[in-house]
Point group: C2
Chain length 137, copies 2
């Protein structure tokens, strides 16, 4: 165990709220998990099959970290065999604002991006001049 050398005031990098928020959810996967949970996903299995295909060990690790951070909670939804469900806390749900800002920026600046909801209602439409009817993924 290694408490990790921290900043004079107990922060890992600085007292900046941005830096500290990034230390909790500033990686490529955490916010996607939050996104899916805001969309109603609750179990490990449901979270596993996102369009981004998160690796199983990463998902397990992130769920642990998010729980330790108080952003989500884990409870058994059945015993025999025990199965767990994850739920967003108020703290976690409040990250919705951050997600919205990211969606907004992405849609404004990265061509052809579509939210999961949009993609669902608009099955297969995209960039011009490319005809292919491939089915896999």
């Amino acid at each position: 165990m290694k408490p990790r050398a921290e900043t004079s005031e107990g922060f890992k990098r600085s007292p900046c709220p941005i830096a500290n928020t990034l230390d909790l959810v500033g990686d490529k996967w955490s916010l996607l998990i939050i996104r899916d949970m805001l969309h109603g996903k609750r179990t490990y299995g449901e979270l596993l099959d996102s369009p981004e295909r998160i690796p199983t060990n990463i998902l397990a690790d992130r769920l642990k970290r998010l729980e330790q951070a108080g952003i989500i909670s884990r409870t058994a939804y059945q015993a025999h065999p025990v199965r767990y469900a994850y739920a967003l806390s108020d703290k976690g749900r409040d990250l919705g604002d951050v997600l919205l800002a990211l969606v907004g920026w992405g849609k404004r600046h990265i061509p052809h991006t579509r939210t999961l909801t949009e993609a669902a209602s608009d099955p297969e439409r995209r960039a011009p001049a490319r005809r292919s009817a491939r089915k896999r993924e």
Copy 2:
């Protein structure tokens, strides 16, 4: 050289705007660089001395990536010896919304965090009962 296997529609992970935005700035440092640039920093040297102490090679790498992504631009501000200055593009400046959402969440949920501006005007140790004229942001 490996163009990296991409998703059928040309996206690295999925067409989700959140996933794609995270692929550009979803790491621990990029948004801190943007934060500093929004606060007026322009040179490599200025960006180096943030309170978070970004490693030199990481800063160089991120500046390159952000430039390739069209979020910042690099131009020489003097020759003999040549020195460069970085500037946010509209695309980069537009990340301000994301930063604001992160600041908001951080301040609401991580105790004792303070923006750089606040920390500057209140060089004091953290204390719950501290009252002072609050400035902007």
